[in-house]
């Protein structure tokens, strides 16, 4: 049972911002179960856990109006550039794969946003991994292994806390203190809120769970000239982005896996390889008959940073997403992206080219679980219905 609160925003939310504002409303208050903004942008509906008292309702309205005002006033309309349009490609399936995946044990939810996948989905993910590794090999990319933890100081250095505070996942441990450890061992238990441990038992936070793969490479290259003047690298890693009530099945995980092909070097080297990578992936997607589009996009910057950062990304065409069709909901899902960071990491981390100027960076990133989910949404759960190239590879 939930309670609906309707709010009329002080300024109308333009269509191009409806999705962005809606996703941010999930972070406004812990009592919000869902937020909806119909096209037109003149009404916001919040599903709440309980009916709020008057002062709490006013508080909620105030927070929502703040989000809207900060994101909408003075916003720049993004320029959408479509590089590839294959959404109308016919695919055999239109049904939601979730029920079948859960029923067959191919998908098991441990907690919101945390899923175990079964043998068939694992093999499918391995198939996509092979293709992405082949892409990396085509650039002679050096293979790296990066840790799952990432130091807070490193993320601070590249402004991550300001840009994406809402999605951070923090790591701590018990303080090196006999009483704290003994107390935990004897009294630790989970209630409806989680572990009942007093917060002062935990050490200060020095590390987080890594939100992306390529950052680790940039940190490893920091504060010195780039050997050889250019570098192609690849790695796969666990990534963590908390998405509050937006966590939905394999579409939006808290803990997901990303394969990246990373380029570091002069501007033209990075941009040329990003484009070459797109062309090579186009050939693969065509081979398996995936319905998708490649279009310009922006990262999910938090409210305060959104207006400026998203507009900048859009204007300079820094990010293009591979959006695969989800026929069962007549929607699309970002399964990968082609990114160019200009010299942001080169400047922030003091990574230099032989002439002393900062390096440029870019990466091609694929979300492995999302890739599998989009494929299953388009081709179903029966492998004998899958494209021949996939069937053969899995035999």
């Amino acid at each position: 049972m939930s309670y609906q609160l309707h709010i009329i925003p002080a300024v109308t939310i333009p269509d191009y911002l409806v999705g962005e504002v809606q996703s941010k409303l999930a972070y406004v208050d812990e009592g919000i179960l869902a937020a909806r903004i119909p096209q037109g942008g003149d009404r916001i509906t919040l599903d709440l856990l309980v009916q709020p008292e008057e002062d709490r309702r006013l508080q909620l309205e105030d927070k929502v109006q703040r989000v809207v005002a900060v994101m909408v006033k003075g916003a720049f309309k993004p320029k959408i550039q479509v590089l590839e349009e294959h959404l109308d490609r016919p695919v055999p399936c239109r049904s939601d794969p979730n029920a079948g995946l859960l029923a067959s044990g191919e998908l098991f939810q441990e907690a919101p946003g945390i899923f175990t996948v079964g043998p068939l989905v694992t093999r499918l993910i391995a198939f996509f991994e092979q293709q992405f590794i082949a892409l990396a090999d085509s650039f002679g990319a050096a293979a790296y292994r990066f840790p799952t933890l990432i130091p807070a100081r490193s993320l601070e250095r590249v402004g991550y806390f300001r840009a994406f505070p809402q999605s951070l996942s923090f790591v701590t441990h018990l303080r090196s203190d006999l009483d704290a450890i003994d107390g935990f061992a004897q009294h630790a238990a989970c209630d409806e809120h989680g572990l009942n441990t007093p917060p002062d038992s935990f050490s200060p936070i020095q590390n987080l769970l890594s939100p992306a793969v390529c950052y680790h490479l940039y940190f490893a290259l920091a504060d010195k000239p780039l050997p050889g003047g250019s570098l192609a690298a690849t790695a796969v890693g666990n990534c963590f982005r908390y998405e509050s009530v937006n966590l939905v099945s394999l579409e939006r995980l808290w803990n997901f896996t990303m394969r990246e092909v990373i380029f570091v070097g002069p501007r033209d080297y990075v941009l040329h390889n990003r484009e070459l990578g797109r062309e090579r992936m186009h050939a693969f997607f065509e081979q398996i008959g995936l319905a998708y589009r490649v279009e310009s996009a922006n990262d999910p910057f938090f409210i305060g940073e959104f207006k400026k950062q998203a507009a900048f990304q859009s204007a300079f065409q820094l990010k293009f997403e591979i959006r695969a069709a989800l026929p069962f909901k007549e929607s699309t899902l970002a399964v990968g992206s082609y990114n160019y960071h200009q010299d942001f990491f080169g400047r922030s981390l003091n990574i230099t080219l032989p002439d002393g100027s900062p390096v440029h960076t870019g990466c091609i990133a694929f979300g492995l679980e999302r890739m599998a989910f989009a494929f299953l949404s388009q081709f179903g759960l029966q492998p004998d219905q899958w494209p021949e190239v996939v069937r053969k590879a899995l035999q």
């Binding site: 003075g74 720049f76 309309k77 993004p78 320029k79 940073e305 207006k307 400026k308 950062q309 507009a311 900048f312 859009s314 204007a315 300079f316 065409q317 200009q342 010299d343 942001f344 400047r347």
Partner: protein
Amino acid sequence: MNPENDELLKRVQDMVAEALQVPPGLVLPDLAFGGIPAWDSMGHMGVMMLLEERFGVPIDADGIATLTSVPAIYEHIRRTTKE
């Protein structure tokens, strides 16, 4: 740029300095995006927002991508004002 528009150039330099929160002396007539550390991506968007506000010049995505130097901003204002 010509002498009669020197005042406009000065106003552009001052506006850029204010947006980037740097001393006006750092914003030379040929300064461009990346020319000083403060003119990074966030700084650039600050310049674009203040440009809209101070000069009443509407900025779109193409403008953000092309108005990346003091001379480009100066020319854009001059052209837009004439129109």
